[in-house]
Assembly symmetry: C2
Amino acid sequence: MPDTRKPNPARRNERSRQAILAAARELISEMGYARVSIEAIAARAGVGKQTIYRWWPSQGAVIFDSFLDLSRDAEGQGVALPDTGDIEADLKLVMRATVAEFADPRFEAPIRALNAEIINDPELAAQYREKLAGPVDDAKKTRLRSAQQAGQLAADADLDLVLEVLYAPLYQRWLHRSGPLTAEYADALVEVTLKAFRP
Amino acid sequence: MPDTRKPNPARRNERSRQAILAAARELISEMGYARVSIEAIAARAGVGKQTIYRWWPSQGAVIFDSFLDLSRDAEGQGVALPDTGDIEADLKLVMRATVAEFADPRFEAPIRALNAEIINDPELAAQYREKLAGPVDDAKKTRLRSAQQAGQLAADADLDLVLEVLYAPLYQRWLHRSGPLTAEYADALVEVTLKAFRP
C-alpha cells in the first residue's frame, strides 16, 4: 500500500506541468496568442515563473507544448494511426475523431486563435509546420504508405496531396464556419479521397 | 472628336470610385481590417468622407466592395466560368488563374488580412460567405452542373463537396504557406477532383 501522506515529487511535477499547459491553452483562447505572457500562465497555473523557465526555454516553447499535449495519448506518446489493414475503416475512425475535436471548445478555441496568428506570421507558420503539423502528418503518411503496399492506394500517389484532399476541406469548413461538421461529412471525405487516389 | 477640355462627371465618378476601392484594399493590407477607417480611406483616395458616404451606407460596405471589385471583370460583371464543353480544360484555366491570384501581392495581402479577421469573427464570416464566397460559388456550381449534364461529373455529386475538394487544399496551402503554388499544383487538384467525382 503506498504511503499517501508522503508527497510524490514526480506526481507533483506532472500535475504542475499539466496545470501550466492547460493555463496556456485557456489564456490563448481568452485573449489571443499575441497577448499571452509567461507571468499570466504562471499566475493561472498557480506556480512560480521560475518553474516554467526550469522546464521550457521560452514562452513559444510552452505554448507549442500546450498544443502538442492535446495530440498525445494518455501515455504521453505521439499520435499513431490505427492499422487494422482496412484503410477506409481506419481513416473513418480518425476523421470522425478529428471532426469531434473541432467541435470541442477545449480544443477548438486555442487552435482557432493559433490559426489567426499563423496566417499573418510566416515565422510562426514555419514553427507550426515543423513542431505541430509535421510530426502528425508523418504519422498519417506512415498509415497511407501501408495502404499503398496493400494495393488500397495508388503506388504513385503524392501523399502530401492525399492529406490535403482529406483534411483541407474540413479545415476550411471549420475555419469559415461554412457547413456542418458531422460524422457523415468525415465519412464522405474519406470516401472521396480514396476514390481520387485509388490504384 | 470628344471635347477633352470638358470634365466628364461619369468618368470622374468612376475614377473616384476606383480610387476609393483601391485605397481600402491598400489600407487593409497595411494595417489589418480592424484598424481601417473611412477617414483613412478618404485621405488615401484623395476624396472627401462625404463622397464615400454618398455611395456606400457603411465602412463594411466599402470594404466588401473593394474585395468584390477584384473578382469582377472589366465590364463590371460578376464572375462566370468558361464553358467550352471540356470541364477539365475549363477548370484548369480557372484554377491556374486562381493560383496566380494567390501569388499576386495586390490580391494576396488584403485577402490574407480578411481571413485572419473572419477566423475570429463569426459575423464577418457570415457576411463573407453571403456577399463574397457565395456568389462566386454559385458561378462555379453553374459550370459544374453543366458538366453533370454532359456526363463528365457524377449526377449525384454534392457540389459543395466538389468545390471544397477542388479549392480547400489550395486555400490551406496558401494560408499555411505549406507548399508551392504552381500551375502543376492547379492541374493536379483538377485531375484529383474529377477522378473523385467522376460518374
